[in-house]
Structure formats: C-alpha cells, structure tokens
Amino acid sequence: MGKQAATKVQAGAEGTGATGKVYPSPPAVRLVGSAKRQRILDGVLEAVGSVGYDATSVRTVLDRTGLYRQAFYDNFADKDSCYLEALSAGVAQLEAAAVSAAASAETWQGKLRAGLGAVLGTLDASPDVGRALVVEVHAAGAEALEKRAEAMKRATDFIDSAREAAGEAESPPPIAAEGIVAGIHAIVHARLAAGENDGFRELLPEFMYFAVLPYFGAEMADAEMRAARV
C-alpha cells in the first residue's frame, strides 16, 4: 500500500496526476499524485518526526527530499499547510491499513486485533512518521488538533460498535469507548515521545485486554490478551 493509498485519498484525483495537468481550480487537485508532491508529503512527516515540528523548515524538507525550493512552493504555500495535508494523508494511510487488515475478520474482536495490529506494525516500520502524526501534531496548531480529534472520534465509533456484538454481555457507560481510545493513544504517544522506535506490536495483547474488558468482561479480555500474544 503506502504511496498508492495516500494518492487515492485525494478525492477526484483520477486521471489528473499522471499527466501533471494543471487545473485552474480547485487548487487541491492540482498536481495531485505527482511524484514530487508525494515526496514532499513523505519528507515533511519524516522531518517533523525526527527533528520536531518547530525545528522543521521548508529547507529541512528540501534537504531530505533533494528537491528545489520551486518544487515545494509549486505545491504548498508553506510548512504549515504542507504538514496539514501530510497529516491527513498519513492518518488516512494508517486507517486504510487497519481497515484492509480487518477486512477478512468476522468478529469485532478479530477486526480489532487485525486492525490495531496493522497500525502498531506500521509504527514499528516507520516510527518517525508515527511521531509526526501522534506527537508533533500538538505543536502544529488548532487545525491539526482538529484533525487529531476527528481521527480519535472515528476510532471511538469503531470501538463502540462492540455494543452490537456484545449484546447482553456488558453495557458500559457511553464514556467507555472514549476512555479506551484515549488510554491506548496515551501509551503509544508516551513511547513515541520518549524516542522509542520499536516494540509497538508487542503492545497489542494489553490493548486487546483494555478494549475488550468493558464490553465483554474479564474472562474474554484475558482470552483475547492471550490470543494476541501469538
């Protein structure tokens, strides 16, 4: 997946990017899918993830991508708007990885294990990108935080779909799903912020425990924790 998926995220991009054809409006469609644009989006996340948002400049991104200034300013107005687009694309990529991994699972627990496992595997593979998305988002202003909140909300909605699967088993208060997402997010955030670069996949068993517990009780939470260790 990777670059392909990120390109698809740009709605209405079909057929425009490959030719590099420039449309007068809307500007977001312009050059979508161009290799340079994608290199810049990848580069800004890697730069922000490794040196931090504040320390990243357009120059930092250019140095990493080996592109000229003009290539950057043809595509983006400034660092902030470039990061915002990269943030959206990066989050969408993570979500796409989760959804595709979960597709073949039949139960809520199975989907969670596969989807969360895919996200954690991606963090192991690209910890700097993870830091750019999860940690540095806090330094990037209100709009970036809004995107973070939206992503958390989507995760919360998926978690709370356990209610349908759980039926009569447990019926936790509405706050349960938000607490799960926030708690898991906090553990990942703390490790990324502390500079850890691997070991994320190993967190899956306990994440399964925390997520399953409020909806299905301790016995199933234990079972899912053990199942995820394999």
């Binding site: 936790p172 349960a176 938000e178 607490g179 926030a182 967190l203 306990e206 409020p214 009780g217």
Partner: protein
Amino acid sequence: MGVDSSSTSNPEHAGGPGSLPRPYFVRSPRERLLEAMVRVAAAKGYEATTVDDVVEVAGVSHDDFDGMFASKEECFLEAYDAVIDVLVAHVTSAFESAAGEPWPERIAAGLGALVELLAAEADIARMAMVEVTAAGDDARARYRAALARFTPFLEEGRDYSRQSDELPPDTARFAIGGATSMIFDEIRAGRGPELQRILPDLVFAVLMPYLGPEEAEDEMRRVTHQG
C-alpha cells in the same frame, strides 16, 4: 476555612485566604516571572508567548529575566514544575485523607481534588494540560514525569483488583492516559471551568481497567449522586 467544594467552586473565593493553595503569591521577581509565564502561556499559547510579554506582565526588567533564565523555555519549565508540585500535593492530600476508605473511593477523592483545582484555576489547567504538549521535548518529558507521579496511587489497585491474575503492565498508564485526554479535550473546548461535570466519567475511565466495567460503574454512580 477548609477546602470544600462550596467554597472553591465559587470563583470569588478562588485564591482568597484559606482557599486553594496558590503557588505564586507574588513576591520575588522570580516568582512574579513564573506566575506571569503561567498567565501569558495560558492566554496566548506557548508558541506565541514572548519574553517581552512575560517581563511586562511580571513588571520586572529584561535584565532581571536574563539574570535568572537562559530562555523562554527555561522559564516555562520552571513554572511548569511549580504548577505540577501544587497539583500533585493537592491530589495526594485528598487521596491520603481518604486513607480508611476502599481504594476506589480514594481514587475518586483524588480525581475530585484534581478537577476541583483545575476548574478553579483556568490558567494552571491550560498550562499544565495543554500548552505543555506544545512546548518542546523537554516540556513533554516533564509532562510524562508529572503524570507518572500519580502512578503509585493507581498501582494500589493491583492488590484491590479481583479482575485478573496479571493485569497488563501499562494499566496505570492506560488509566491516566484516558483521564488526561478527557481533561485535555474539555480544557481545549473551553469547558475547563465546568470540569467537575466529567468527574464521573473520569472515575469510570480510571477504575475500569482495574475493576472491570461493573464495579467501575458502581463507583461512577456513587460519585454522580454525591456531586
């Protein structure tokens, strides 16, 4: 006058004698600068805060600032430490004074003290929970260290829990992370002054991983009826 919710939830009393502990009764230039940093960072955001702002609010000279702090960040970090000491002391005292009670009630008491203080002190709340996450690596490391100071209260729950032979290693971090994220969202949405409203939710989020949903919800209800 004791610290009870009727006196502290009234803004007129906040900061008055006998009310919540105020970390920076304005005395030395250093204290004035630290307090000014809290106020300015909370009002403008850390990034937009300048040394000029802080010096002006504190009513001290630039030379004084330069003599005490190498940078805006250094001043912020010291102010942050002072704020965290107050928060931790307040929560610890509530947890300790409920010493005879069952663990879930002690946790609820500690959380109650935390939201009470954060609700009454909007600047402290914003600085301690929101701006710190935007203030660079050192600030974030202090933030993590500050949250870790609440871990011992939670880990007593391992003995109390009948939930599992082996609670996951990150249980405290999960519980604290869930609660702080909810507080973060409330403060960022401008609902910091009404933070006490989410106390039942916080109680559930913190107790659930230790006790399971049913017992956590029992305690949540108890707190709701109390409040």
